[in-house]
Amino acid sequence: MENFQVIDNCLMVKLPEEVDHYQAGYICQEADRFLMEENVCHVVFDFEDTVFMDSSGIGIIMGRYKKIACLGGKVYAINVGRQIRRILDLSGMSALVEVLA
């Protein structure tokens, strides 16, 4: 199950098992709410539980990146497995996002 947590100035987003279009709306909405209401500078996406992601996941990351990059924030992807890594590489996201296995 996805969840959101603010630690210092970082928003931690734990992504669900499957990140698809169906799940994406809620995640974007909630993440943006935290970005607006809390004093958040960086966003960390945690892929620990995630076994499937399609381009909807790229949309989630890209959208959050656009929102915080102009204010000097950074986006991180952690616990990235092989499949997720391929998707991030293929979409060029690994150039914008700090990817940590």
Partner: protein, 164 residues
């Protein structure tokens, strides 16, 4: 062994999961690698999502627990047809809708091009289908619908010899 299956479902976002799991199960007996399986699931997910949100414009269900996002409109009834064929270790997947169709296919296939940036769509759908499958064909006529055909050679080959 040759095998075929067909699945017809409502154009609702919840069914994206159904579609990719069905295709994964369909090829499971070939003992595909995790990578192959994930490639196929991603490609199917992209095609089906496109049919639902672009073909039929069904954006609701675009949230958890049946909550509807304000930007989500009415439900436009429609069906998505998913057909799979396995012959000689080659998987053919067809995803078909009777939705609004695509005006400019080559524009739609450009990476990062999306008609729905406000919904955080990345515009990578067709790029992923192309990258993860060996062959991609898009037929569409505006007002009539779209048919996506994808093909992938399964490295695990055909049925284990001696079992038939």
């Amino acid at each position: 062994m040759n095998n075929e299956m067909e699945l017809l479902f409502d154009a609702r976002s919840t069914n994206e999961g159904l579609a990719r799991v069905a295709v994964a199960a369909f090829v499971a007996h070939l003992n595909p690698t995790l990578e192959e399986l994930s490639d196929i699931k991603t490609a199917v997910s992209e095609a089906v999502t496109n049919a639902i949100i672009h073909g039929y414009g069904n954006l609701q269900g675009y949230s958890r627990h049946g909550e509807v996002r304000p930007s989500a409109g009415d439900y436009f009834p429609g069906k998505v047809r998913l057909a799979c064929k396995l012959a000689d270790g080659v998987l053919d997947v067809t995803v078909e809708d009777q939705g609004k169709g695509i005006e400019d296919i080559s524009k739609a296939m450009e990476p990062l091009y999306t008609t729905m940036p406000e919904l955080d769509r990345s515009g990578m759908g067709f790029a992923f289908m192309e990258a993860f499958m060996d062959h991609l064909e898009v037929e569409s006529s505006p007002g009539k619908g779209t048919r996506i055909h994808m093909r992938k050679k399964m490295t695990s080959g055909s049925w284990i010899p001696g079992e038939e």
